[in-house]
């Protein structure tokens, strides 16, 4: 009754040694990218703080050499919505090993500064899992400022946000204000030559970083495995996946009520509410379904789902629901089907990414938005395309 405890296969020091070995082997360095997926087995059955230590070490290991393009999205994700100072610092440091910096990176670094400046911590990267206990020069904020300095003139667009931080009461201590000055100096220095497509605002991802992927109709996965799973909504009503998601396009987000990063789940669900308002304005709210599905079905019972949605302005009715699976195994089915970026310690989420999906009228995954903040209008535009696809009969059965 007290429940068996499942221990992870590797201890943390063993994991660190494995990461170091891979990083040192030029043939195998690329394997480290797979270690950045949340659902990697190494992260199962570990507490959130352990995940932070492990992920941070992977980022630092990758950054010992040139950071490859397919690692960039993980770094940007951490800068965009990370709230753990150690991990944000590791991401900021890792970015400095990326060989092709562009102006599009600057808003991410600036956002990271906003996210952690009120919870700065000393950081130490010399050994795995080390926590600084002396006042050191290195802190999460200093790492982020160093990355702004590294960006130099490419960061010109964020000057208006950075300049106020050098004021005496701007919230940074003197030693960090010197770092701000150095960064400002580097940013204001003349650019060597104009880089193509340098100016970027609003956090749109740099060229090459794909946070959205869409699948043409003939390569979308079928739903046979998932269509019979039973879902329960915020009123306690039961409905199968097929019944809810087939027949019209749907927008699906994942979340859980115990998420303690306000920029992830809470914001995701609040954004779903904004998507619903856009659908209402466009007269589409009866032709497109929306759903917020919890990663944590055992804890997120219907009443909890209802209150969470209500507090964030979510519309809840026959076509717009907060959902959970009810059979134990069905959570695994859901995870596999969506390839969810989540992991658990027992049933509690220990880490997850931001993810939103558009399903076509057959309930198949057509578009996915991963890791970086997705834009509500973009999501609606893409979903309307699914509607047109349905109406033109151009979507084919799996």
């Amino acid at each position: 009754m007290l429940g068996a405890t499942i221990e992870p296969a590797l201890s943390e020091p063993q994991f660190a040694a494995l990461v170091d070995a891979l990083a040192a082997d030029p043939e195998r360095r690329g394997d480290l990218i797979s270690f950045l997926r949340e659902d990697h087995p190494h992260y199962g059955e570990r507490g959130a703080a352990a995940i932070v230590r492990m992920r941070g070490w992977v980022l630092l290991a990758i950054a010992r050499g040139e950071v490859p393009d397919d690692a960039l999205i993980f770094i940007l994700e951490e800068l965009d919505t990370g709230v753990d100072p150690y991990l944000v610092a590791a991401a900021a440091r890792a970015l400095r090993s990326y060989p092709r910096p562009t102006a599009a990176l600057a808003p991410f670094v600036m956002r990271a500064l906003g996210n952690i400046r009120y919870r700065d911590e000393p950081v130490s990267f010399a050994d795995y899992g080390e926590y600084a206990i002396s006042p050191t020069d290195a802190s999460a904020v200093s790492e982020v400022l160093a990355t702004l300095r590294w960006l130099g003139p490419r960061a010109r667009d964020i000057l208006p946000q950075l300049e106020p931080l050098r004021a005496p009461h701007g919230g940074l201590p003197r030693k960090l204000r010197l770092d701000v000055d150095r960064a400002l100096q580097a940013i204001r220095s003349p650019a060597p030559e104009d880089e193509p497509g340098t100016h970027s605002c609003c956090g749109t991802a740099p060229n090459g970083v794909r946070s959205m992927s869409s699948l043409p109709s003939n390569s979308r996965r079928g739903t046979k495995q998932i269509e019979s799973i039973a879902l329960q909504d915020q009123k306690g009503e039961l409905i199968t996946f097929k019944e809810y998601f087939q027949g019209q396009p749907s927008i699906v987000v994942f979340f859980y009520t115990r998420c303690d990063n306000p920029m992830k789940c809470s914001l995701t669900v609040a954004k779903l509410a904004r998507v619903q308002k856009l659908l209402e304005v466009q007269g589409l709210v009866d032709r497109i379904h929306t759903a917020a599905i919890t990663y944590d079905p055992a804890f997120d019972l219907p009443e909890r789902l209802r209150v969470y949605g209500q507090d964030r302005g979510v519309r809840m009715d026959a076509g717009h629901r907060m959902l959970r699976v009810i059979a134990d195994n069905d959570n695994d089915v859901l995870r596999r089907h969506f390839e969810l970026g989540v992991n658990f310690i027992e049933s509690l989420v220990n880490r997850h990414r931001i993810e939103a999906y558009i399903l076509d009228a057959q309930g198949r995954i057509a578009v996915s938005f991963e890791r970086l903040h997705w834009d509500e209008e973009q999501v609606v535009i893409r979903t309307v395309e699914m509607l047109k696809e349905k109406e033109c009969g151009s979507g084919s059965q799996a």
Binding site: M1, G3, D120, Y131, A132, P135, V141, L301, L348
Partner: protein
Amino acid sequence: MATKRKIGKRASTRKQKAATAAPVQSPENINDVRSLLKVLRDGSKPIDVRMAALQSLGAAAFSVADFDSVHADYIAALREVSTDSHEQLRRRALGILMRNKDGYAQKKLLDGLKNSAKALVPPEKALQLLSYDVHAGAYSAARSILKKPPNDEAKREALRLLAADTKSTPLFEKVLRDKKELRVNRQIAASALHSLDPAKLQARARKILLDKSDYSDIKATSLTALEQFGDDGSLAKDKTLLQSVNRFKNSKISAKYKQTARRFLSKYGP
């Protein structure tokens, strides 16, 4: 926002009030805060002076403009003194760190629960502090404590920590049912069960109220749970339950419990 004030007069008044404790002052600026951090770290200073410095630093977190600018140094100092020779300082520093969801503190506390030679605070305190962060990964440690609790407080804190563990529903049902359990543990079980499975709590609370041999205190908890959070429609129709509550009210119980019963009956009775 340094404000001129009559520090001297105020300090002497404070000293009169707290003759045996070191004076605590509210720092006015970042330089004050830096001085306090030095005092905190200084093992040669008397412990009450260091504790007063820690209290003042806590006050600074509320009121000193630019406190965020020394937050990293504050965390570093807290981590350092979390292994200090004085337990009261360790406790307080670990408490502040755990409220910040600090990974260093979590690791130290979990290691201490696994291996008592490494424990910085007693197990009941470690469990209490770990419960600040649902993601601390402390469930297995809490379950181990429940298998062989070193003392009543540790058992209680382990139960409290597990209150959000969906696997522990059977455990809480068992604790709530067990009349030999301590009152406070049954109280925690009622609260936990209400979170994890409200229908089960309502059913169990009803059984407790109908059970003539169960204790009045757990009946009072059950009544409070039902009155505050129960399903109004079904409670008002439950004649058997209302009769039991009436019997409870008329039995030899404290005035307070009688009042709880009266409130319940006036809400749901005819």
